[in-house]
């Protein structure tokens, strides 16, 4: 049986998500035995060629050339999976969508005339059809393995769309929002991190993005009632998933109401 061809691609991102594949140290040999890692510039020098059974795409679209590149990858791919907050929501760099990117370019670069950038940072799914998404900043290794296993087995990946709270409660972590008044986004955030931050008595900052039934107005009202200003609450939503609709809209609502 031929191994499925796997490609790993990158757009605007920090590389952290694709490195999760290399982080699968114990499983790496088994992964390599099960799939043909045919394109993965971070790990091996192989030229981009041919078709892919599965393409794993990291990063957001933030430069003009990336659009063409992405269309090419889609054409080469039977199954395309976008991974990480950048690829699924535009990433932290989507903050530029809320401001004047030309101004940023002028402020940051000594020679801004060499910079070719788009005014926005957008997720992969805004440009091409995506078959599956892995959330997170970075993604979870467990999710990545489950994705690979499920693709090999021909089933839907089992990545439940439940809140971070479910993971806290299963692990017996005391709620930081209720017991400490921390501004935790766990209740409206897609689980998958294993409740990493609350385990260190820190508030969840929503790096896996909005879960389904994401009631941002209700949690924002609670965060305000705990004594935070509209601006402070808006900033909680303006992080790695600021490009996701519920977070972006809630931040705007909170900004509009600065009382």
């Amino acid at each position: 049986m031929t191994r499925p061809r796997l490609g790993v691609f990158k757009f605007a991102s920090c590389d952290g998500c694709q490195l999760t594949l290399l982080d699968c140290e114990d499983e790496l040999l088994a992964i390599d035995a099960a799939v043909d890692i045919a394109y993965f510039p971070e790990a091996r020098r192989l030229a981009l060629q041919g078709q892919f059974d599965v393409s794993i795409v990291e990063g957001s679209v933030s430069a003009p050339a990336q659009l063409q590149e992405l269309l090419d990858i889609r054409k080469r791919s039977r199954f395309l999976v976008s991974i990480g907050a950048c690829a699924t929501a535009g990433g932290i760099q989507a903050l530029r969508n809320l401001a004047d990117s030309d101004e940023f370019v002028r402020a940051v670069y000594a020679a801004p005339e060499y910079i070719r950038t788009l005014a926005t940072s957008t997720p992969i799914a805004a440009h091409v059809p995506v078959d599956f998404q892995l959330r997170g900043c970075p993604i979870s290794k467990t999710h990545l393995l489950e994705l690979i296993v499920s693709l090999l087995r021909g089933r839907r990946p089992q990545l439940p769309d439940e809140s971070v709270c479910v993971e806290c409660k299963r692990r017996g972590i005391v709620c930081v929002m209720v017991a400490r008044g921390e501004p935790c986004l766990g209740p409206i955030t897609h689980g998958g991190c294993g409740a990493l931050c609350p385990d260190f008595r820190r508030a969840c900052y929503g790096c896996f993005g909005p879960k389904e039934s994401c009631n941002t107005p209700a949690i924002a009202a609670r965060l305000r009632a705990q004594g935070r200003s509209g601006e402070q609450v808006a900033q909680l939503f303006e992080k790695f998933n600021v490009g996701s609709r519920p977070f972006k809209d809630e931040a705007a609502r909170q900004r509009g109401d600065r009382s």
Binding site: V149, L152, R156, K169, P187, N215, A218
Partner: protein
């Protein structure tokens, strides 16, 4: 020793409490008790009194919990914390089955432990009694919970200072221990009044060096607990509440609560009686090995009520309503008790501070009834007034009893295409012993699985007379059903079953049968039709009304012809939703076939329906108009079935588990919810 000796109050000072801990350790018990950790009082291992939260109390209000320093040095001067004891008995994650070769599944040994729960409150013990009823009350018992529950000692503490969200007095579960404890302690400033309620408790107190309690101490202790009853932070008026909630399923207050609810699941996971779980099938990168892990789940998650093609409770409103009406209303019908013990955790640990006592009271004060609900209220009334849980519809135990959680191997004998997306999987149980034992009733289902892919509930579509050989007619729509479709003859799959209730063929003898099927809904009715044909003279007039999407989607055409052509056969009428020009039959939904029905002698007709819920609703409405009684109309319901034995809660439907109490219900058992969406 007389019973009176057991009950005589004793005195235990702090050294004595250490003696009690030592005595527990000497008897091999792992003692769990309150400890301060992460800004809260949690339950963890305790071997020394110094580890107990001396001088710590807590402040609790909706959505808020804070530890506070007390002015005294009490060890139990707090109330219930973020964790319930259920994490030690009904554990958050348990491996329930595994296979190394993909053929033979086995159940890992359930883990047992001698546990002593120190400081458990009366409401918490009441919650354990409720979980006992759910998980051990039959017809199935959860082997993992059973093992963990086998040797547990309850060293209870009576509450003298209720918390801000407590309402055990309303729920009649506290503050005093009355049932199930081994020892009840009441803390005073200088020690404990200790009462043994069991022989184990008496022996432990003796070993700890307890002395007879001074009369004054007994009086103080009694007075303190009595006073606590009147100082609850919350109260809930129970009188008639179950009925009010049951008849207010369309109250707009549910929408208002949903506007504040995050559907984060905290309330359910903090609740000491919530028992729901999901099963995750994990597999290795290569090789046939797989295992099934059961994890805590909640009716607030989207996956909980999802089946292929949609979600039965898509909105937060549906989920909150499900949770609250189950706790305070349908739980009584289902388990004979309230599902709430008044511990207040769902109020304290709700991030937005939704208060179950307040919301219940709001609905009581702003009831909303339409005429159908008035009828439902009467129905609910009858059910709720009956002492204890109403008799559930007849259920059948699986003939493969030890296979209730663990699949047995079944070999694929054929995979036959029925329509473009539907196929029939013919199976034979691999082991002779399983073949010997296996039998089913028409209407029952099996759980079919492929290791590493998953499991799904599929009704049996073959004749019950055909022992050992089984057929399942399946629509290939999800990953498991598609994988089953691509199997070849000789493959091995996993099977658990049969599960659920069956069509009422026995009580229908001597009567007319009206069978209504929509689409693949004919599959679970086919075994019933085989049985009727095999015993045709036992029934009067038998009519089958069958609707399919198109002529090409029609199932079992050959059977339909055989049955209708047979001497003394059955009357078959079919209709399709849409058809090409070469279709000469009827076009229209299945209810159009009702127009041709003679006004039936309603009293002697039994109706059996299976198909999409909306089709059954329209059909049932017409059948009621024809004069059939709700008890004579039988519907086969569909929900997300995961465990199939009434533990995981996914298929909760009003007061029923569809897997165990259904899927076949008389309408009279489900009338209250049958007409509603989002249940």
């Amino acid at each position: 020793m007389s019973a009176q000796d057991v009950q005589r109050p004793l005195w235990l000072d702090r050294a004595g409490l250490q003696g009690l801990l030592d005595a527990l350790a000497a008897r091999g018990y792992r003692t769990l008790g309150p400890r301060v950790r992460d800004d809260a009082i949690v339950y963890d291992d305790v071997s020394h009194v110094d580890q107990l939260p001396e001088g710590w109390g807590d402040e609790q209000s909706p959505g808020r919990y804070r530890l506070r320093r007390r002015a005294d040095t009490r060890l139990f001067g707090h109330v219930v914390g973020p964790h319930s004891w259920k994490r030690y008995l009904h554990q958050p994650e348990v491996t329930i089955a595994s296979t190394t070769d993909g053929v033979r599944w086995s159940a890992p040994e359930a883990s047992a432990e001698k546990l002593a729960l120190l400081g458990i409150r009366a409401c918490e013990l009441a919650a354990i009694r409720i979980q006992d009823r759910v998980l051990l009350g039959g017809p199935f018992t959860d082997p993992h919970y059973r093992r963990r529950r086998e040797d547990v000692l309850f060293i209870g503490v009576n509450c003298t200072e209720p918390g801000g969200t407590c309402f055990c007095a309303s729920m009649n579960t506290g503050p005093r221990h009355r049932l199930g404890h081994d020892i009840a302690l009441t803390e005073l400033d200088d020690g404990f009044v200790a009462e043994a309620a069991t022989e184990s408790g008496r022996q432990l107190l003796a070993a700890a060096g307890a002395t007879p309690a001074p009369t004054s101490a007994v009086g103080s202790a009694t007075a303190a607990v009595d006073a606590a009853s009147g100082r609850m932070g919350r109260q809930l008026e129970l009188d008639g509440l179950a009925l009010v909630l049951a008849s207010n399923l369309d109250n707009p207050i549910w929408d208002e609560v949903a506007s504040r609810c995050l559907s984060c699941a905290n309330c359910t996971l903090a609740c000491p009686t919530c028992f729901c779980s999901t099963t995750v099938e994990t597999s290795e990168l290569s090789g046939p090995g797989a295992s099934r892990v059961r994890k805590w789940d909640s009716c607030f998650t989207a996956d909980f009520s999802r089946v292929h093609g949609g979600n039965f409770r898509p909105a937060t409103r549906d989920r909150y309503r499900q949770w609250m009406t189950h706790k305070l209303s349908s739980w009584y019908e289902q388990f004979g008790t309230s599902g709430c013990v008044g511990c207040g955790r769902c109020i304290t640990w709700c991030p937005t501070g939704i208060d179950i006592t307040r919301e219940a009271q709001r609905i009581r004060e702003a009831p909303m009834h339409d005429s159908r609900e008035t009828a439902a209220r009467i129905q609910a009334n009858k059910l709720l007034l009956a002492a204890g849980p109403t008799a559930p519809p007849p259920t059948c135990r699986p003939s493969l009893e030890d296979g209730s959680m663990v699949p047995v191997p079944a070999r694929v004998r054929a995979v036959n295409a029925e329509t473009a997306d539907t196929f029939t999987l013919k199976l034979e149980l691999e082991n002779a012993a399983d073949r010997q034992r296996f039998g089913f009733e028409p209407g029952q289902f099996n759980m079919l699985s492929l290791p590493g892919v998953g499991e799904c509930a599929i009704s049996i579509s073959s004749s019950p007379a055909n022992h050992g050989q089984l057929a399942h007619t399946i629509r290939a729509v999800g990953s498991v059903t598609r994988a089953l479709q691509s199997l070849t003859t000789g493959s091995i799959i996993g099977l658990r079953g049969p599960f659920g209730s069956s069509w009422p063929l026995e009580s229908a003898r001597g009567k007319d049968l009206l069978i209504v099927a929509g689409g693949i809904g004919l599959a679970p009715l086919r075994p019933a039709l085989y049985s009727v044909m095999a015993d045709r003279q036992a029934y009067g007039r038998v009519q089958l009304l069958y609707g399919a999407r198109t002529p090409e989607d029609m199932l079992f055409a050959r059977d339909l012809l055989t049955w209708s052509a047979a001497a003394n056969g059955i009357e078959v009428q079919v209709t399709v939703d849409t058809a090409g020009p070469d279709w000469t039959g009827r076009v229209g939904v299945v209810t159009t076939l009702f127009k041709g029905l003679a006004p039936a002698p309603a009293a002697s007709t039994i109706a059996m329906l299976c198909g999409p819920e909306v089709m059954m609703r329209f059909s049932v409405r017409d059948l009621l108009k024809l004069g059939l009684a709700p008890r004579d109309i039988h519907v086969s319901m569909e929900r997300n079935m995961k465990c199939a034995i009434g533990f995981c809660g996914h298929c909760q439907y009003g007061p029923h588990f569809v897997c165990k109490d259904g899927p076949v219900f008389p309408l009279s058992a489900v009338e209250h919810t049958f007409w509603k969406e989002g249940i």
